[in-house]
Amino acid sequence: MADRTLRGKTAIAGVGETIYYKHGQSPDSEFKLALQAIVKACEDAGISPHEVDGFASYGNDRSDGPRLAAALGVKELKFSNMFWGGGGGGVCGAVGNASAAVATGMADCVVAFRSLAQGQYARYGRSGSAAAVMGDDAFLFPYGVMSPAQRFAMKITRFMHDHGIKQEALRGIALACYHHAQKNPNAVMRGRELDAEKYDASRWIIEPFHHLYDCCQENDGAAAVIVVPADRAKDTQHKPSYVMACGQGGDHRSAAPVHNMPNYPSSHFGKLAPRMYAMAKMSPSDMGIVQCYENFTGGVLMSLIEHGMVKPEEANEFLVKENLIVEGGRMPLNTSGGNLAECYMHGLELVIEAVRQIRGTAINQVARNDAAIIMGGPMVTPVSSLILGSEATL
């Protein structure tokens, strides 16, 4: 029996994204945004949308795969897949699921996508107007624990407490993301520079550790990537980004109700990351391209630690802007601006940036661009991560 692995069997052959908007400012509907991103990704891959035969998404995306297939005139739908869980925990999982379908021959050309128009629908950062809540929410909402930030803040508080990590480490992450956005024409926060003074003076969203700039944006837009078999990707117009490994899941009982997951102060990557590195036959030090989903900077901190990119005892010293920017930094992070400063496209913009880096066409191009790690949706459950590589990593 052949190795049970994704390693090198598929590749991302095309990427597409819409203009990114502040929430509520898209002139187009969510479904139209999804179509725009998919058509662009197909153009980038040099593949007709008629040839797409599968759709994979996450975060309960409202743009239904079979409806997209009909709208695009897909000849035959072979794979239609949704990754459980809210938020961006499934961003890498959707690419992994698309790859699994392609690697096993279930489908030949699968789109992983995300579309969001929060003006058309509800915002994440405002709680709904329901009079009564049930289930887990009944034990949280009446106490004012409602928004994503509030649901995760106490994980971060406890992690920072346990490891003695200071606010400045989170500031370093925010400054690097905003720095990278300044050269990116599609970054919503381009022209909105951030320095340490402005960060420190920004208002509290939640004490301790959540200043305004520790929190992601809310945006409208869509993004898509095209996954095809590795041998087919070689014949497309761009340098392929091979899927070397995907990890997805959660710790033991990470979805336990009312904050009762045994491993509480965690981004929930601790078990997943070693599994993924083993599949990729790579290690943290191989990763020249580092993209980490920022819902909140504390989530980035825990993700970097749980993926072995930073040691907890070195976090205060290492997580400073100088180490995290493309100009001479030891670990350039979120080189397009990420969820904080490019666009909150639930992390799919991070996957696309990793592909641009591997191709060598990024705006903030890193020198060491053969291997990329993308970490998706820290603290939610399930979470997912992805390793992409150039041909040199095969």
Partner: protein, 146 residues
């Protein structure tokens, strides 16, 4: 002066159509703090589940416990995310660990000055906060320093 820690108008708790958490909310109305304990393997479990995660028995009981614990983590939200909180200002939510009951955890507010310093590890005790005029009435479980 309101009898409640947070303003009225926030979503109210409901045990929902499946009734899974009904014994908890019925208990708080009667001034009793009750959580699940497996009748088969004696494990404490919180929040409510249909099955024991340890031994898979469906025979779960609801045991009255003492509301004593320690602060495991906390947050002080400033930004109002619900219309009822507009203009209210910061408040404290705590995650309380109950060492006497298998280290299960509960979420509530820490009563007292919303700007008070909060110490992880501090001992706290449960306080019932009845909302008798709500439809239907319900009772929250809050926490104060012990």
């Amino acid at each position: 002066m309101s009898d409640y820690y947070l303003p009225e108008g926030l979503p109210t708790p409901s045990s929902g159509p499946d009734g899974l958490s009904a014994p908890f909310w019925e208990g708080t109305r009667a001034g009793k703090l009750r959580v699940q304990k497996c009748k088969s393997c004696q494990s404490w479990q919180w929040g409510p589940e249909w099955v024991c995660h340890r031994c898979h028995s469906f025979d779960l009981g609801w045991e009255e416990i003492e509301g004593t614990g320690r602060i495991y983590s906390y947050q002080r939200p400033h930004h109002p995310v619900h219309a009822a909180l507009n203009g209210h200002g910061p408040y404290v939510a705590v995650l309380v660990e109950l060492p006497a009951y298998g280290n299960i955890r509960m979420v509530g507010n820490l009563l007292g000055n919303p700007l008070q310093p909060v110490t992880i590890g501090a001992s706290v005790e449960a306080v019932f906060e009845p909302h008798d005029t709500a439809t239907p009435p319900y009772t929250l479980v809050q926490w104060r320093l012990a």
